[in-house]
């Protein structure tokens, strides 16, 4: 293809890209319009100026700072704890090659693909019984186990190819297992661990079903749960809806910009394994 043909292909791909990012743009435009402006000019006009009151009002009304903090607390804790568990498991399975490792791996894999609905009610019941219902800790524990199931699966494959000579040399120097893990395996696999950490963080941030069931009070809810529950409530007008959409979008887009390289690389690491 020559001349106009190649530009036609580029044009088509650019049009599609515009369609894909259109919702982000239109949310941003409308979140800074005043209600009067919205009702007179509609959602498609450019804003006359920056009207931030809608965002401020929405922020205060839903105590958005609290929701952000809850999401951050839960996602960061799950990411760290799940990486720790994954490393411990993968050490035993990938390097230790304990007996029955294949069945254990299959078990973890099945756990990760199970629909959460098939665990939800008993977990809800148990959380109530032990007094963890409506606490961030309940979601942290459950999500840690679910994410670690995937992490174990991935990391075991990575550690299965770990150079044995290094570990043997360390053993001769008198390093125990725990020391080898902490001083040799973890530092060498750091790049993979970082990818996992970021993935667990973002997956947990995006999680909806379990937080919806466990976190019912205003003080414990996460960002997605708060926005979803508010959706369709009476006082939500057009500008407030777009303000809420923007506040939901922003952290996700920020993570995307910060972690873009790791994300695109990591998504493929996760997929091929």
């Amino acid at each position: 293809m020559r001349g106009p043909g190649r530009w036609a292909v580029l044009f088509a791909l650019v049009v599609l890209a515009v369609v894909m990012v259109f919702p982000f743009a239109i949310v941003a435009i409308n979140a800074v319009k005043s209600p009067a402006e919205y009702s007179s000019d509609g959602p498609l006009s450019l804003p006359d100026g920056l009207y931030l009151q809608g965002l401020v009002d929405f922020w205060n009304r839903v105590e958005f700072g609290t929701k952000l903090w809850n999401s951050l607390l839960i996602s960061a804790s799950v990411a760290v704890l799940a990486v720790v568990l994954s490393v411990l498991n993968a050490y035993a399975l990938g390097i230790g090659r304990v007996k029955g490792r294949l069945s254990i791996l299959v078990l973890f894999l099945v756990a990760n693909t199970l629909p959460q609905e098939a665990l939800a009610y008993p977990l809800y019941y148990l959380a109530k019984a032990v007094g963890l219902y409506d606490t961030q800790l309940s979601v942290i524990i459950v999500m840690t186990v679910i994410q670690a199931a995937f992490g174990t699966y991935l990391l075991s494959a990575v550690l299965g190819q770990f150079p044995k000579e290094i570990l043997e040399a360390a053993a001769i120097d008198g390093a125990g297992r725990l020391r080898s893990l902490w001083r040799i395996v973890v530092p060498i696999s750091r790049p993979t661990l970082n990818v996992l950490l970021i993935f667990f963080f973002i997956w947990t941030w995006n999680e909806f079903f379990l937080p919806l069931i466990f976190l019912i009070s205003n003080d414990t809810q996460t960002v997605p749960v708060a926005l979803a529950v508010l959706q369709g409530e009476k006082y939500m007008d057009a500008t407030m809806s777009s303000a809420s959409a923007l506040l939901g979008l922003l952290p996700a887009v920020a993570f995307f910009l910060i972690f873009q390289r790791t994300l695109t690389r990591g998504v493929t690491v996760g997929a091929i394994k």
Binding site: E117, L123, A171, F208, S241
Partner: protein, 287 residues
């Protein structure tokens, strides 16, 4: 020197304990509850297979699985098909003619929806599709109730899910294409093979493993789908967008039919496990 493996068991203990408490016991409790009539309080009453025979006759249950099929089309099949063409075009055409920066910028734009919490994506689209003040009706000069009209609701949800999912296959396939030896393309080009021929005979066979993985993970995601349904339609209007996961949620937390909800969740879990094994089987035979 032989590394002894016995001591490594210790490292599995914390996970296995947590795993037992968070996954195994709850799953068994769920299966157990599916044989009972239970409102969530008081003692469950054993009723054997009654919940399952009731399921077979429940029109809502069958409809919810039909909607799942639609969502598999929207979340797995369509994004895979479009994603293949996009990835090939970006890799084999845009990347070569306009530079790799253009290609990766476009890829990033396609991928952007994937970073959103799916519930937030639902909030965004719920606002854009609003019948009176939404942007979509304004742009096309229409007056449709996209999510409120039973004839339109499922198609609308499917369209939103295509938008949401598309970036995932594009990223995976483009990464897979990095493996392909450029000599294949060069040879094909010298032989005068058209773009479509190169796509069919080089690109597609080379990234078969990625296609399998994408189809599997997206099919599972479609079977599990909950967030967008909760936010966009809550299964309605009527049952127009009911899916099994939302149907079980409804029985658990709104109708106090915990036994019935558990039966739905158990069936869904079984279907997902079977689908996973079938896919892995096919994939193994491919190798």
């Amino acid at each position: 020197m032989r590394v002894r493996t016995r001591g490594y068991w210790l490292y599995l203990v914390p996970s296995l304990l947590l795993f037992l408490v968070v996954i195994v016991v709850p799953f068994l409790m769920n299966v157990g509850a599916s044989f009972t009539r239970w409102s969530g309080v008081g003692t469950p009453r054993w009723i054997g297979l009654d919940n399952y025979t009731r399921l077979l006759k429940d029109e809502r249950f069958w409809q919810s699985f039909q909607h799942n099929v639609g969502l598999i089309v929207a979340m797995a099949i369509v994004p895979t098909a479009i994603g293949l063409v996009l990835a090939a075009a970006l890799f084999d055409y845009i990347g070569k003619k306009f530079g790799s920066r253009t290609a990766s910028a476009l890829r990033a734009m396609y991928y952007l929806p994937q970073v959103l919490p799916v519930a937030v994506a639902g909030v965004v689209w719920g606002w854009m599709l609003h019948p009176s003040y939404g942007a979509i009706n304004q742009i096309f000069g229409l007056d449709l109730d996209w999510l409120g009209d039973p004839d339109l609701a499922l198609a609308t949800v499917m369209a939103v899910m295509v938008w949401f999912q598309l970036g995932y296959p594009v990223v995976i396939f483009m990464a897979g294409l990095q493996r392909v030896d450029p000599a294949y393309y060069e040879a094909a080009e010298i032989d005068g093979a058209s773009w479509w021929r190169r796509f069919w005979h080089i690109t597609l066979p080379q990234i078969r493993p990625e296609v399998f993985v994408v189809l599997l993970t997206c099919t599972i995601a479609a079977l599990k789908v909950f967030g967008p349904i909760f936010v966009l339609t809550r299964g309605g209007p009527g049952n127009a967008t009911m899916v099994p996961s939302y149907f079980s949620y409804l029985n658990f937390f709104q109708k106090s039919n915990v036994g019935y909800g558990s039966a739905i969740a158990t069936v869904l879990a079984l279907i997902i496990i079977v689908v996973t094994f079938l896919f892995l089987r096919v994939q193994e035979r491919e190798r």
